[in-house]
Symmetry: D2
Subunit: 138 residues, 4 copies
């Protein structure tokens, strides 16, 4: 059974670049998060909804492997997949490609945990969110 | 005779916010520049073209007045106008509004100068660029 | 009568630079704020104290004039002065110089307003803060 | 035989925080790089020296595990170790602790590769750099 993936695009702005004339390596983590936000928006909810339920989704692990540099003005495609779906955490995979050349630029992941905003403790991901994530689970 | 304006939109991402739970004041300058880049793209050229002509466009002045805060997830409309068009410099005006509420969030400007990349000296803006900017000059 | 000024230094890191191989123009506003924070720390208080009093200090205006570029690895000196001290707002002036060459790189200012965190309205700057700022008022 | 480690400190500035009122997860990668830069400076060289030799040091992998949040105004200690030292690459380990409480906040690593600026290909790390890194190799 195949799984769905979510794709969004990001245009590299001048402020994303560094003196090596490529996108600064830390910015990929901003792109990953932006894709995650757009993914939630596409499913009909947002970080703000989580907050209203007394939840938030801190990142507990972040990883990126850099294959080829991205440059100013490049249009990047960010593909998000749900690589692991546990009771209290989700691992999102990210694949960054150059939209024009289709070159693979970077691969990465984020592990995010559902946490109670009062206690800070890990808690269950609400059932209706789990339902929405399932089709994207590899 | 009325002048044209250019509009683009920016979605506030989590990395744009600060601990006051609003967009960090320095990020407006990133948004201004992003609007400027999209403006050039809409006219058919880019910072890269300038570079290939041995030119670049350093900022010599930047200003922003903050009216109301922008928050995570807000869709912002950035309007760009050409407020002054001189032989060697352009002053761009920016108006940031909340796309949903139409609230005015910020007003600002950037003065950019055409500079020779070899000598660093201010130089004339190429005639065909001036022609493209003219319709946006207030 | 002469006034005091406050000085702090900032080392340019790779993430501060852009593809023109100079510090991105938006980063000066981060440097200004960092100097402001160090200034408060030197006076014995912080943004956190303001928050505990139900206050915060949003920026209402920001300006910077760029004279010469700063580069990766440069040690910058940031000088802060209190240019205006009003009942509800302060205007801080900033002067950025290259510590090694003494070249003037940038001049700027920030206008910050004391605001009630509940209502969002401008309010008086607490008297003991005003007392501490006075010696720095030009 | 024990190995040396390098330590530097970073003060959390307002621009490092996000709307969860903690340091944004992408900023740890900026802190890692800043520690790396200070490490090179302590050894007597810099990214600029590498560039002058026709080399640069792109990051090929970046990882961070987040243990506890850092907040505005916190003084962080960043400890750098040389975890792997290969012919063409170095793996730096990073440990971020709260300087006041000694709480462990984050653990991470960066893999950087020596690359020829002309060809972009991986190349040998110059011998005198290897010599300087050896005492820090675990």
């Amino acid at each position: 059974m195949s799984s769905d993936s979510f794709k969004t695009s990001v245009r590299v702005t001048w402020a994303d670049t560094d003196a090596a004339q490529v996108v600064h390596y830390s910015k990929y983590f901003v792109f990953f998060e932006r894709a995650e936000e757009e993914f939630y928006r596409s499913l009909g909810f947002s970080f703000v909804d989580f907050r209203n339920r007394g939840l938030w989704f801190p990142r507990v692990e972040a990883f990126c492997q850099y294959k080829k540099p991205a440059k100013f003005g490049d249009l990047l495609e960010i593909e998000l997949t749900v690589d692991e779906l546990k009771v209290k955490s989700v691992k999102y995979g990210f694949k960054v490609t150059n939209d024009e050349t289709s070159d693979l630029l970077a691969l990465g992941y984020l592990v995010v945990v559902a946490a109670d905003r009062q206690t800070g403790r890990a808690t269950q991901i609400p059932a209706e969110i789990v339902e929405k994530l399932k089709p994207f689970h590899k």
